[in-house]
């Protein structure tokens, strides 16, 4: 405790409000203003749609990641998991063409497979972590390697491509939309809103925070700790499935390099948004802001040629570290 915070707790409170609650939001607004100043096209319909639609994959996954991290866990496997789910989905759809024909039912079946595969992969992680009691970092580091290698193997080192005709039918799921808003954005928005509601207003969200804050207390308070923890990984797996459904129509293919580093981007977004890395406190809206910040940086660097886009990663890194430093500032003010 420092003297300043003791002497002026009112100010400390204000500062906490600024940095902790509004910090990410302010950063986002600054970025938007900066972008608009640097390039007049920045706020155009096309650019905004493009940025948001690209954010959607990471965003949907990051919403699930928020729950995992809030409950004191971590999942490094989501990037490879997405690639694996995409691979399975493409193979499955291609091989069903003779039976279902090229049409809506086949696409629905493919979506079902994606969600089930993601769910199963998440279940596997969750099972090993909460029932077999292996550390989350280890389990998901392992499964990250497994899924990555499986998809490379399925593709035989190359690329798995969706049947060409099927692809044209599926494409609108990424490129079209409803009332001018493209589907990935709509799905992302729905997932985010539901996620925020679940985190803030349901017993599940409360239990996740309790487990992350102090697992013992949760156990003594009749919380089904194992079950809730498993549920966070299953939820995340399922959302990886949803993200893949939106991703496959974009390129119509999957390979060993699909989804590389998505896990880090998702985790970074969660942390920038103000969720505490060691668990106990999480907020989904913050994660959404975090995702937007990350993709805006990318976008601005590409549009305005002041700084080389190759430095994108460096700038994102600085922001993640800064976010954590601000989190700690807040801790010591308590």
């Amino acid at each position: 405790m420092t003297e300043a915070t003791l002497g002026a707790p009112g100010r400390a409170k204000l500062r906490r409000l600024n940095f902790h609650v509004l910090g990410p939001l302010l950063a986002l607004i600054v970025l938007i203003i900066l972008g608009a100043m640097l390039n007049p096209n920045f706020l155009s319909y096309g650019n905004v749609t493009n940025v948001l639609a690209r954010s959607a994959f990471i965003g949907i996954i990051a919403v699930g990641m928020t729950f995992v991290i809030t409950a004191g866990g971590i999942d490094l496997s989501v990037g490879s998991m997405a690639a694996f789910v995409a691979g399975v989905m493409i193979l499955f759809m291609n091989s069903l063409i003779p039976y279902l024909g090229i049409g809506i039912p086949l696409i629905m079946a493919g979506m079902g497979v994606a969600i089930i595969t993601g769910f199963a992969a998440g279940w596997m992680n969750g099972f090993l972590i909460s029932k077999v009691n292996i550390e989350a970092f280890i389990v998901t580091l392992g499964s990250m390697g497994i899924y990555r290698s499986l998809v490379t193997w399925l593709a035989d080192g190359g690329t798995l491509s969706l049947d060409f005709e099927l692809r044209s039918l599926y494409r609108p799921v990424y490129y079209d939309g409803f009332l001018g808003v493209s589907w990935p954005i709509i799905v992302f928005a729905i997932v985010a809103i539901l996620g925020e509601l679940v985190m803030r207003h349901t017993a599940f969200g409360r239990h996740c925070a309790a487990i992350g804050a102090n697992e013992q207390v949760a156990r003594y308070s009749a919380v089904k700790v194992d079950r809730a923890r498993m549920a966070t990984y299953m939820l995340l797996g399922m959302l990886v499935g949803v993200a893949t459904i939106m991703y496959v129509p974009r390129l119509g293919s999957a390979s060993g390099s699909t989804g590389v580093l998505w896990e880090l981007e998702a985790i970074a977004a969660v942390i920038i948004g103000g969720t505490v890395l060691k668990g106990g406190y999480g907020r989904v809206w913050g994660t959404v802001v975090g995702v937007l910040i990350l993709s805006l940086i990318d976008n601005i660097l590409n549009l305005a040629s002041i700084v080389s886009p190759y430095l994108n990663g460096a700038i994102q890194g600085v922001i993640v570290i800064l976010a954590v430093v601000l989190q700690r500032e807040n801790k010591s003010a308590d």
């Binding site: 405790m1 003297e3 003791l6 002497g7 707790p9 009112g10 409170k13 509601l197 207003h201 349901t202 017993a203 409360r206 239990h207 925070a209 309790a210 804050a213 102090n214 013992q216 207390v217 949760a218 156990r219 003594y220 308070s221 009749a222 919380v223 089904k224 106990g280 406190y281 308590d334």
Partner: protein
Amino acid sequence: MTEAVLSLDGISHRFGPIQVLFDVDFDLRPGEVHALIGENGAGKSTMMKILGGYLAPSEGDVLLEGKPVRFASLRDAEAAGIIMIHQEFNLALQLTVEENIFLGRELWRGPFLDHKAMQAQSRTLLERLNCPLDPREKVSNISVPSRQMVEIAKALGRNARVLIMDEPTAVLTNRETDILLEQIERLRAAGTAILYTSHKLDEVKRIADRVTVLRDGHRVKQADVGQLTEHDMAEAMVGRELSDLFPDKATPQDETVLEVKGLTVPGHIKDASFKLHRGEVLGFAGLVGSGRTELMEGVVGLRPATGSIKVGGKALKPGSVLAAREAGLVYLTEDRKEKGLLLGKSLRENLTLLALDRFTRVAIDSRAEDRALTRAIEEFDIRAGDRRMMAGNLSGGNQQKLLLAKTMLAEPDIVIIDEPTRGIDIGTKQQIYGFISRLAAQGKSVIVISSELPEVIGLASRVVVMASGRIAGEVEGANITEDAILRLAMGLSERRAEAV
């Protein structure tokens, strides 16, 4: 009169807008044991933290040998010979006993830590406290009272000029308390100034030279201990007259609500059987380490156990705290900091965690939660400066009240309370005893585990005594005496000692 070694001059302190200390003067002399007493939330811990250099006061001065000081860090305070043992433990759970005792002043041998010397010294310190702990044991694996002994060993090892102890005996049994008091006398004879708080007034009477009473942040009394009776102290603390501490005992009914048969908790409990009746207050006594907590944790599904547990005649699903709660059986832990409360969360979230489903349809009804908090604050007299504060910022006693409120919110038929009044002031104790006996009168059943014998004797209509993981016997009605209980509690352990 000897000169004061450490004193306070016109100290006031505020946490945010809330003032908790008002213009307090205080002095502590070498070679005296000074007791600081007061109700929960009176400001005792805050005052001690200011004395110990943990907290800078909002106003006023701390004087060391008459000169104002302001410790920049704990190291400074320690270097000046001022050592403090906190009410809430300050041990690193993942480190060993030895590492904790020597934390921050490790012994070196060349470039390496001298583990041998540190272990030997730790062992000597623990032996002085009659506490046979292995210095290599991890602190997370030892019991709460043992942790307190480690804290004390840690302080003893630092050659204090001033030793400040915040409720050191709250978690200790009589025997351990005796050992601690002996050590205190030894330090006093060596000229150490000792300040300590306790809610056990008999202990204060026994050991202290002078007493200072705080009420709502004001110093209301300071006197030599000889001038005050226990009753005087209690009344000075609460500021009103106090009637009998224990209410009348209710008569239990015949119906058995909980039947435990042949329960074995591997590593802790062998073949324990007991019954609990409707409307009964059943006491569980025994020395620390006799397995009372482990037995009850086995009963409610917090520990793997074999044997039969029947609630209202129906077998209880094993290993599920939730199933126990749904059957109306809840357990209130003795370890409020590690197992009871989420210290970094709000009062509201803590209060409703156990009974959250009662506030939930699809979403949590936070307005209903708020109403529940208002009721709990009233019913349990929780003194929170601000109802949005974190549970960890409540005073120790008020945390205990919050934990009690949280447990009762689940509307249990059977409540197992482990150390119900640990760290609770005498006025509130009376409220809690009244509360327990009202529960029994309403036809609920209560098991009280307590290391304070007067408490078990004053509350329970029947007492089960445990010794080394077994049930050693049972006393009932007029046979419940301190003597009878102690004989049962010791008897078995002595026989075992012979066998070894």
